[in-house]
Symmetry: C2
Subunit: 279 residues, 2 copies
């Protein structure tokens, strides 16, 4: 496995690859959620490229970039163990040179304004910018993105369609622990009691899903059921509960064919999100 | 020379090319301005790809897309004569499928808001969108853009930098007729009297350039000199005269190292633009 630090070297390495390239883009803090991405795409491509870049533009000024888990050595070892051929691990100066104009940006559209976009104002613009830069530099044939970040996944699919990038975007189902809690880098922030309390997210989503499965189609009722479950956990503070259109993430009144149930909670120092498809 | 109509076939043809690719992107109406692009880039690349696409998204609702010169057979003959290997000539439905979301767009930034951007509100958003799509589909190593559309050229350079596209953007000097009038597809709209009147654009730019060369550094004075020259031509209606920053296109008070003198005029049915570098 080769670790590449500069855009120029990454482009050069890419230009010598003749087969198909798969990309697993990460912020670091590699866990089983990420390695599932690697294991899924590894048999589908000739060359597997990982990226390791704690992108500053997708974090707000009061957010947790400084405490985000970062252990490059451990992360590189995981990439290698899961069959990665190259890891692109640039510095922030390399990706955002201080002299660069950086003026044209991707406008990720209305789906980026709600839910996560409402709580983290420039988050998706930062995501869109770095993902398009990584796509431009690495030119993958396919790239994985997790369903846990459902809104991000859909926005990246929109960008891929709109800019005609022609990349096969592979959604990766959310990796869950035995009690259903979604694996996330931010789970490391939780105390044992908070970790226990955090099971409430998946419980609330499961209640919505069971209710959907048994025929409930009012989004209002489904949201209310999630809120009722979440209200039983004093350590959890609701940021949003949503029954949203799977494409635009607009809140629904009535669910027709499908919807996504999403929620965001603060538990102790961590902001946690999770979602489930109702279909 | 091979003519390609679909994105899928263009991607397939591109993937079989191993050498460097040059791109000359056009709206059609090929004239000596365009063939200069082909002749410039032809010796620099292994494979020359032209594009022929009258992009609807860069024309406003009251603009001249319906009367824009379009003779595909003649255009293809010019491409072939000047050594083009592939011409990508998609339909509007192929580039903008009716089912596509098309939601994420390139925000081309503040340089797109002034001058041409002020007179043609969504023009540069349309240009940015189609150029990024063409870049994504064709993956050129180098691409030519004309200095006649100086603002467009600079915005495309900004996009190339910001999205890390890594394309060598080759600026092509403006092709002029013997009286200095800039060659443009829109010149076909002019009557002989209007064509004669249109020489006033280059005259006004030349006066600004001569004044700059002899030491004038007040942008106000330089703009006034252009306006004085233009006022002598009753057929010409000024849309703007500008002494602008070469990078941001913001109007200058005092010219330091360099500036671009730009103007836009209506003469009869045609809207004409031209510019010159003061450096």
């Amino acid at each position: 496995m080769q670790v590449i630090r500069t855009i120029a070297e990454m482009r050069e390495a890419r230009s010598s690859i003749t087969g198909t390239v798969g990309l697993v883009a990460t912020l670091g803090g590699i866990h089983i959620g990420h390695t599932t991405h690697m294991d899924t795409v590894r048999p589908l491509c000739d060359v597997l490229i990982g990226s390791l870049f704690l992108n500053p533009t997708q974090f707000g000024t009061n957010e947790d970039i400084s405490s985000y888990p970062a252990d490059e050595e451990a992360d590189l070892a995981e990439f290698e163990k899961h069959g990665t051929d190259f890891v692109f691990a640039p510095t922030a100066d390399e990706m955002y040179p201080p002299t660069g104009t950086g003026v044209p940006q991707i406008d990720p559209g209305p789906a980026a304004k709600v839910l996560e976009g409402a709580h983290r104002p420039d988050h998706f613009k930062g995501v869109a910018t770095v993902v398009v830069r990584l796509f431009s530099i690495i030119s993958p044939n396919m790239a994985t993105f997790g369903e846990k970040d459902a809104q991000q996944l859909r926005i990246i699919q929109h960008i891929n369609e709109s800019l005609k990038l022609g990349i096969d975007i592979i959604p990766i189902p959310t990796k869950r622990e035995s009690d259903g809690f979604a694996v996330s880098s931010r789970n490391a922030y939780l105390s044992p009691a908070e970790r226990e309390a955090a099971t409430i997210l998946y419980k609330a989503l499961t209640v919505a899903k069971l209710s959907w499965d048994s025929g409930e189609r009012s989004a209002e009722v489904l949201r209310f059921m999630m809120i009722s479950v979440l209200a039983g956990e004093p350590l959890a503070e609701i940021q949003y509960t949503s029954i949203a259109d799977v494409d635009t993430f607009a809140e629904l009144d009535q669910v027709e064919h499908s919807a996504r149930a999403l929620l965001a909670m603060k538990i102790g120092p961590a902001r946690l999100i999770d979602n489930i498809l109702l279909a």
